[in-house]
Amino acid sequence: MTTQTLKTSEVLQTSQNPKSSSPASVRPAKKPVARRRAKPGAFARAADTTLGRGVIQLLAVAVFFLAWEVAVRAGWLTEFLVGAPSGIWRVFLASMLDGSLPVDTWYTVIEAIIGFLIGTLLGSVAGLGLWYSAFVARLVEPFIVAINSVPKIALAPIVILWFGTGFVSKVALAVSLTALVALIAAYQAARDADPDLQALLASMGASKNRIFRSVIVPSTLPAIIGMFRINIGFALVGAVVGEFISSQRGLGHLIYSASSLYDLNTVWVGLFVLMFVGFLLYHVIDFAERRILPWRQINTAGQVQV
């Protein structure tokens, strides 16, 4: 429903309502009269559709790889140091066919996702929980800041010592990277929750638990889901760095072992697959956000374009 139709139906509504003799609630629909400083050209306007943008984006990627390939073939770049798109494609096909690439990808993705889920869940719950007691929150704040200021990647060697070289250590690393981000984001959001909404519920006689469920959780959801986007990236970092240090499988392992053999094409395959995985997971979260927060998805058609 657009704002326009809403306003019109409101007019109908009020005129049918005998109580409203004065057109009090009827206000003219405000249309932003934005004087554009620089008008987008005819081409930009025509191409600014899903299809148009997609074509341009694909074209840009194609041009990039083509230039790369040409540069390598012409001898401007050394294939030994930068790889070549044709070689990358060959490696990709071969490792897909022998099944090693899907297995490596699977390992990394599962490590990242499990690490993301555990870290984000623990962090969010703890962060939201801090809302219950300002005293405890103030008490633990310096500790959180201190722990957060350690670059978590520096923990990787210890994590490997503690959890071994297998699957668990990668998950643990991903958890260590995501948990504090989640905690801080959730706590911040809970603290910023509208105190007036909480007062309103309190005046209705709501308990603290009830206020938590009805105000704190829903009003922090946008921030928490926004944090998911950051954390999915961090979880991948954790998994890959863990694999760099010691592993038998995974995309991190693939990249690390290939680069020590100067097999640049394989390194690129690992990197591109990682990019693709991150891209995909980002969109999964985007999709989830649209389902969970329908009230945030109200159209912005009336927004002023600057």
Partner: protein, 261 residues
Amino acid sequence: MTASSVQLSLDGIRKSFPGKGGPVPVLDGLSFDIYERDFVSIIGPSGCGKTTVFNVIAGLLEPDSGTMTFRGEVVPGLQGRVGYMMQKDLLFPWRTVLQNVMLGLEMKGVDRAQALDTAREYLSTFGLSGFENAYPKMLSGGMRQRTALIRTLIMDPDILLLDEPFSALDYQTRLYLEGVLLDAVETFHKTVVLVTHDIDEAVALSKRVVVLGNRPTKVKSVHEIGLDARSPIGARSDPRFSDYFQTLCGELEIQTRQRAA
């Protein structure tokens, strides 16, 4: 006669807030009565602690001393018995209009199907049917405040606490909603306590006006408003309206001069 019996009585309410140089007294022995089915406006100079009075009545703030008596019974606060409405509509952005209206019923633990029926009925009474599934963001300011009013009324509170509920709206919308409020109060037999900085609104709507002094606040005077017209526009065109208006203005003006001296 029940109409004039005391419903809520505040007696010697004191409240101070911690400040930089020790506690800052805000309420300094505040006492006044609210009758059954009363419409009391509280006016006073800005920053005199009107909202604090409210939060004390609503049970959101504990007074340092003093007692509140509700229908003969000393109570700490009126949680769950008051309907609270502020200048901000305080609609939950993640709830639809219908869900917002049902909020109070949910808190009371009313059966869901029944709550739905009641909510739909109220929405249609107040001309908002068709907007049940709209989110607050999609509504105009007047409609949002109307939704907030319905949410307050549907809980069937003993006392409506209105804290400058219409001051963010344009004049026409405000007149309209004042009318809606008066009708509703009449229909549902409610007691209303209205905090406003708008003398005009206070005279037009109330049966009595409580004037507060400067901080630390005491009750300065209580005025009976004897206008018969029970509509915001009718009251404003009553010849006695301007007399009341002048009196109350005078009372606030004296305070300004005192402060300047």
